[in-house]
């Protein structure tokens, strides 16, 4: 049973087909889905406030006033989840030499010509870009969101701050939505196995070798529980 594998990660890394290794710990998966839920809520309600043509979205989350009430609170929860993620993945997300080589060959990745790609670590360059986009995005959304939340608290003489808050919130939200579309597409349709890995935590060794070979080599070399080695925990 795979659930058994998850609770006690194996150290078998011989590369036999069908063998599975732990890619995301339970904490990482909970964090990811907490972030996904809170972001999606803010996305749905935010789009409702964004355009009259999408205002109906507010109805599916309880109506306009309810959507408006929860949007900032779930925004704070999403912020918290991003800092939690940062605390877990900060080191894994730093851009490395391998990333620069990979980035230079990104076209091959986009065209699914993966055999021409330099090997990547636990996260590839695209995943890292997405992480930093969301991390800095939420910092901007938080600061500007506080301005929108307490708009009357900004005195009339400093009203340019009201206008700046609107601008920053819109631009940062749009940037994160762009990343989010690509992330959901890649996590579900394009990179098969990715979606199940963020739910149950495991990937096959073949998957690990194909997509994150340096990470795979690292965890198999250490002969320690792969998931834990991958997360330094």
């Amino acid at each position: 049973m795979s659930s058994h594998v998850i609770s006690t990660p194996t150290t078998r890394t011989t590369g036999e087909p069908g063998e599975r290794i732990l890619r995301y710990t339970l904490g990482e998966r909970v964090n990811h889905w907490f972030a996904a839920f809170t972001y999606s809520y803010c996305l749905i309600t935010g789009l409702a406030f964004w355009s009259p043509y999408m205002y109906w979205l507010a109805a599916i989350v309880g109506g306009g006033p309810t959507a408006r009430f929860w949007h900032p609170w779930l925004g704070l929860a999403f912020t918290a989840s991003m800092f939690w993620m940062y605390q877990m993945w900060d080191r894994d997300m730093r851009i490395t030499e391998a990333d620069r080589r990979w980035a230079a060959a990104m076209k091959s990745y986009i065209e699914n010509d993966d055999q021409n790609l330099p090997p990547e670590g636990r996260f590839n360059y695209g995943q890292k870009l997405f992480f930093w986009l969301m991390f800095y995005g939420i910092i901007l959304l938080l600061i500007s969101g506080i301005g929108l939340w307490f708009v009357e608290g900004i005195p009339w003489s400093l009203r340019w701050l009201r206008y700046l808050s609107v601008t920053v919130h819109v631009v940062a939200a749009m940037a994160t939505i762009g990343g989010f579309i690509i992330h959901v597409y890649m996590g579900t349709a394009m990179v098969r196995g990715g979606f199940t890995s963020i739910i149950r935590g495991e990937v096959s060794t073949a998957w690990a070798k194909t997509h994150h070979r340096l990470w795979y080599e690292e965890v198999s070399k250490r002969q320690t529980p792969p998931g834990q080695a991958g997360t330094r925990r």
Binding site: A48, F49, W50, S51, P52, Y53, Y55, A58, G64, P65, A67, R68, F69, A105, I110, E111, N112, D114, Q115, N116, L117, P118, P119, L148, W149, V151, E152, W156, R159, R162, Y163, L164, S165, V166, T167, V170, M174, I177, G178, I181, I182, Y185, A189, M190, V191, R192, G193, S204, A206, W207, K209, T210, H211, R213, L214
Partner: protein
């Protein structure tokens, strides 16, 4: 809120056209405030509270006759007092009745995302419909006069209605009714503009106020509340009446081109990833071409 008797011509956060807008011609209504004959008695403040059913709230003293620093969610009408030193060194006590200006081009309505939370009637009155308000505060950013005020308990926004409920029944607003000096007038925009211009001319010709004039700012398409000022070149002296008010350009951009740029970008994003799937499909898992995982 007298939507039953007043024809709506603009609706906030509304997708598509406004049914019935432009089908009938309607007089634009206007309140004229002659600051030169206002004595600051605050009868209008009391009349406003009384008609709209608010009790008198605590005042805050700030070395001035003013009741409180600014209007509040339950205090829509406030006389602003300002001591103004003239060029010749003499002092002038300026009193201006502050409330919603009922802009022809209302920034509050443009900014509002909630369908029907702010409407404009064919007579020019801009009215908040609290049952549709979601309490987001966007109107606060949209208004060039800092008028909408938030009730944090009910999470609804409030401001002067120009007594749309009274006007809908053929009555004048409560403040007009209460004014003892007759400095407040109510009627059609045309009549009020004529009255205001005549009064300004009188002030220029016979009272030595050479800069007297009418405040009816064009930046917001003119307003449903106009002032006669002793010095129309310096409206800021009257409790910060903006010289050239207009809807902030950020709000215009946000509610205009940004919508379409953003929506198209999101649409192309979704179409783009879909086309990518059609063209390239999912990634295959395969052994690397050579031992070190591809190119060196």
């Amino acid at each position: 809120m007298a939507q039953a008797t007043l024809q709506i011509v603009k609706i906030s956060g509304h997708a598509g056209p406004v049914a019935g807008a432009g089908v009938e011609r309607s007089e634009q209504l206007c309140k004229l405030i002659d600051t030169t004959t206002c004595i600051g008695c605050k009868a209008c403040e009391v009349a406003c509270l009384e008609w709209n059913g608010y009790t008198f709230t605590e005042t805050s003293f700030d070395n001035s006759y003013q009741t409180m620093p600014s209007t509040a969610w339950n205090y829509w009408n406030l006389i602003k007092f300002n001591e103004h030193e003239r060029e010749d060194g003499t002092l002038q006590l300026l009193m201006r009745k502050d409330q919603c200006m009922h802009c022809s081009d209302p920034g509050c309505l443009m900014a509002c995302p909630a369908d029907g939370a702010i409407v404009q009637y064919s007579n020019g009155i801009v009215d908040f419909q609290q049952q549709n308000c979601i309490g987001c505060g966007y109107c606060v950013s949209g208004c060039p006069f800092d008028i909408p005020k938030f009730n944090s308990e009910t999470k609804k926004m409030f401001k002067c209605t120009l007594c749309s409920d009274r006007v809908g029944q053929g009555l004048e607003p409560a403040c007009i009714k209460s004014c003892p000096t007759g400095c407040l007038h109510f009627g059609t925009k045309e009549d009020m503009s004529f009255l205001a211009e005549s009064r300004a001319k009188q002030l220029r010709d016979h009272f030595g106020f050479e800069k007297a004039g009418v405040y009816d700012p064009a930046g917001v398409g003119g307003t449903g509340v106009i002032y006669v000022l002793h010095d129309v070149t310096n409206p800021e002296a009257y409790g910060g009446l903006p010289k050239d008010p207009h809807i902030p350009w950020v709000v215009r951009f946000w509610k205009g081109p940004a919508k379409w740029i953003g929506n198209l970008a999101m649409l192309f994003g979704v179409i783009g990833v879909t086309l990518h799937y059609f063209r390239y499909g999912p990634k295959e898992i395969h052994p690397p071409r050579n031992g070190n995982g591809g190119k060196p």
